[in-house]
Amino acid sequence: MKENLNNINEKRNFGQALKNFIDVAGWPRIIIGIFLILLFAMTPIAKLRLSTSLSDTLVRVGMNAIMVLALVPMVQSGCGLNFGLPLGFIAGILGAILSIEFNLTGLKGLFSAIGISIPFAVIFGYAYGQLLNRVKGDEMMIATYVGFSSVSLFCIFWLLLPFKSPVMVWGYAGKGLRTTISTQKFWQNSLSDILSLRIGETFYFPTGMFLFFALLCFLIWAFFHTKVGTAMTAVGSNPDYARASGVSVDKMRTLSVVISTVLGAIGIIIYQQSYGFIQIYNGPLYMGFPAVAAILLGGASVHKANIGNVIIGTFLFQGILTMAPSVINSLLQTDMSEIFRIIISMGMILYALTRKTKGNR
């Protein structure tokens, strides 16, 4: 009798715990998480190696995570999702190609790229912030076109700037940058390879890249625990309250845009060091969208985002994006992975954007 009661109690406790978990995690994340686990479970059926799949997923998470993190400051300050992230990418590309032009390699090359890109990102971000302060309420739409137009504007510069490095310029004309530039001979994987783990032939874990991401996460987390970070959150929550408390709303917003743009620049350089290529011209045009989708999928809203949203969102989004096309490909015995990738990534963005009003869950 007593045992029975205990049993019932246990079941009840378990039910309560499950309910709490669902409340905290939110249905979208649970469904997508289950789907992702299913995909991993299907790897033997699809004749894929689980270790390779896991490794690919982790590398992609590391590549993209900083770009997702870059969205947090602007969301918190009330500027919405930074669809203008390509502006930061351009600053990053400038840093990357200048570091290659100066023939710098290894970690030195990578960190010079970051170092060179930051002043550009600060200047771009400041100007972009001033613009956004004049269009309060319509930030996201304006930001999208800031991204588009800056990418187009820089297409001209990529052609005209007098770069000399033979790795980067078109061979036949001797001037103008190529559309993709390899970082292989310079600093590909220079960060990823630090303390990296290799288990067997197929599993690779880019420890250095994750440590660097963790460091940036810590810095952002710490920033939002300082006086200025608190003020930024308050500006996002209620600008009138912040103003009545003697906080300059425009200054905080500008600062958040600058931080976001700088993180975007760093993010794209880390992406390039892992991917092995710098994509210029129209390359950065649509690269802001996956980041936005990831953070929304992670449970952020247009007003509130935290580091947890970034990590969970990036993992789910990149996990699906890596796994779904290859599993489907193997099952159907065709090679349409690129088409699947586009369908899935755009579909997830669409899904995530329809969820955007759902608050911090």
Binding site: A222, H225, T226, K227, V228, G229, T230, A231, T233, A234, S237, N238, D240, Y241, R243, A244, S245, G246, V247, S248, H303, K304
Partner: protein, 529 residues
């Protein structure tokens, strides 16, 4: 009048976020009866009516327990449409009318009589046209039933508020089977004569057999019109009584829970120094709807100065201008030194503080927890609640101190909440106001501007807020400037009262002055012109 009960609510209970807002409330409503529902803000009146009307906010937050019985049958509404179908009409505090439509169109919206034409044969019944003749006729019938005089062809946008209210009630009546009508603060926006007409109309309706639930803050009205009064306090039913068996004083006591002492002015004479702490000369403020034209006054150290006057005359613009929240000009001297009134940060730093009349818009971070709301301004301006790391290079937020100060004020002001981490949005108006006050007290100001401190909050919270201000003034010697529309409130707390009219000060009186004198000042200058 029939004695048949039409609506019974039995042991209704409801919880929001772990806060019990209704606790086993039961009452009955007979056919043709007018029931006055009274209680302080947050007593549970609106929640009770939302349950009756099947508002989605109830089901979304976990439903309720207890029974709603109509005509002897238990019902459970999932949406307002179910409630409307069962013959319940509700007139909300905010108008839900289409401003670009006429009274007729609004009254008959979505149940217009239709006319046949040949297109129906081709495209189906959606092509029927509206029968304006008949619509007008039915609208007039509904308006006449109310016994008021509204032009059925007038656009709602052009109507005075009173007529909008009538149109809304007429619409609820038009629903052929409306047998119970709930009116939530219907007279709040009406002038006295309009309110009178409304009350008359309601009595007429009741005689025709319609049952009415009437919610109002104006107790006199409730006593005048209701057959029966239901008093709620803290989610509990305190009393259900025939109106002729009770009186105003008793009802107020039930509402507040303790006997209300008559408005005795503090007889203790305060010693106010002649030192002038704030001197304002030729202030103008461009605050929309509250324009300040040319205001000059001095505030003595330690006094409580009141600003009264009619709405829209500029009294609210004065503190908003001095604190730099709206464009302003003129000269302000604080402790003998010129104050730059465009720089809010500096003003707060020098010892000015402001509790805004716009609680939800300016006063609170609605989406943030209580402790943040209380500590934020002091943190930003005075660098309180911060740990300095690396020789002050990094100013780290001290969450422990923030929580402690929040706990202190929650206890001191009896703020009803689940924890210091509860989101400000979830609190009732009175509790929100207490947080705004706590925010200002944490700043330890030399002069405190309080704008409409008791607007929209219940009797109990009102008393607590005024007491807290008085006590703060006495204990810390803080100078307080109160701006309020309620003259009685100013007279009970202030040392001097200035009346603002047409953006200027029309006179300053002691609180002991006669009511007529204040009244003359409020309308004084407009009469001279």
């Amino acid at each position: 009048m029939g004695q048949k009960p039409i609506l019974e609510m039995k042991e209704i209970s409801k919880e929001f976020y772990g806060n019990r807002v209704l606790n086993s409330v039961s009452f009955t409503l007979n056919e043709g009866q007018i029931l006055g529902l009274v209680g302080e803000n947050g007593a549970g009146k609106s929640t009770l009516m939302n349950i009756l009307f099947g508002m989605p906010v109830i089901t979304q937050t976990g439903g309720y327990s207890g029974d709603v019985i109509i005509d002897g049958q238990k019902v459970s509404f999932n949406s307002p449409f179910d409630a409307i179908a069962a013959g319940i009409g509700m007139v909300h505090q905010e108008f839900s009318l289409l401003p670009g439509f006429t009274a007729t169109e609004n009254i008959l919206l979505n149940k217009e009589p239709l006319k046949y034409n040949f297109l129906v044969e081709l495209f189906g019944s959606r092509m029927q046209t509206l029968d304006y003749e008949k619509m007008r006729h039915e609208a007039i019938k509904a308006i006449n039933k109310l016994g008021v005089n509204i032009d059925p062809d007038m656009l709602v946008a052009e109507m005075p508020v009173g007529h909008k209210q009538f149109t809304e009630i007429a619409r609820e009546l038009e629903r052929a089977n409306a047998r119970i009508i709930v009116l939530d603060e219907p007279t709040a926006v009406l002038t006295e004569s309009e309110a009178e007409i409304l009350l008359k109309a309601l009595k007429k309706l009741a005689k025709e057999g319609v049952s009415i639930i009437f919610i109002s803050h104006r107790l006199q009205e409730v006593l005048d019109i209701a057959d029966k009064i239901v008093v709620l306090r803290d989610g509990k039913l305190v009393s259900e009584i025939e109106t002729n068996k009770t009186n105003m004083k008793q009802v107020v006591e039930w509402m507040v829970g303790h006997s209300v002492d008559s408005k005795a002015k503090d007889s203790i004479k305060k010693n106010i120094s002649d030192e002038i702490i704030l001197s304002v000369k030729n202030l103008w403020v461009d605050m929309p709807g509250e324009l300040v034209r040319d205001v000059s006054f001095d505030v003595r150290k330690g006094e409580i100065l009141g600003f009264g006057g009619l709405a829209g005359q500029g009294k609210l613009g004065i503190p908003n201008g001095i604190m730099g929240l709206f464009p302003a000009g003129g000269e302000v001297f604080f402790e003998g030194k010129r104050l730059d009134i465009s720089d809010t940060h500096k003003s707060i730093k020098k010892g000015l503080a402001f509790v805004s009349e716009d609680r939800r818009g300016v006063g609170l971070l609605l989406e943030e927890p209580i402790d943040w709301n209380i500590s934020f301004t002091a943190m930003q301006v005075q660098e309180k609640f911060l740990k300095k790391l690396f020789k002050g290079l990094i100013k780290w937020r001290n969450d422990k101190e923030i929580e402690d100060i929040a706990k202190f004020y929650i206890k001191k002001f009896e703020i009803k909440c689940t924890s210091t981490k509860q989101i400000a949005q979830q609190l009732s108006g009175g509790n929100q106001q207490k947080i705004c006050l706590a925010k200002a007290f944490v700043l330890d100001p030399k002069i405190l501007f309080v704008s409409e401190p008791t607007r929209g909050i219940d009797v109990g919270a009102k008393k607590l807020v005024l007491e807290a201000l008085k006590e703060y003034n006495k204990e810390h010697g803080t100078t307080i400037v109160i701006i309020s529309s309620e003259l009685e409130e100013l007279r009970s707390i202030c040392d001097r009262i200035a009346i603002v009219d047409e953006g200027k000060i029309s006179g300053i009186l002691p609180p002991t002055a006669e009511l007529e004198e204040f009244g003359m000042l409020m309308v004084g200058s407009s009469k001279q012109n």
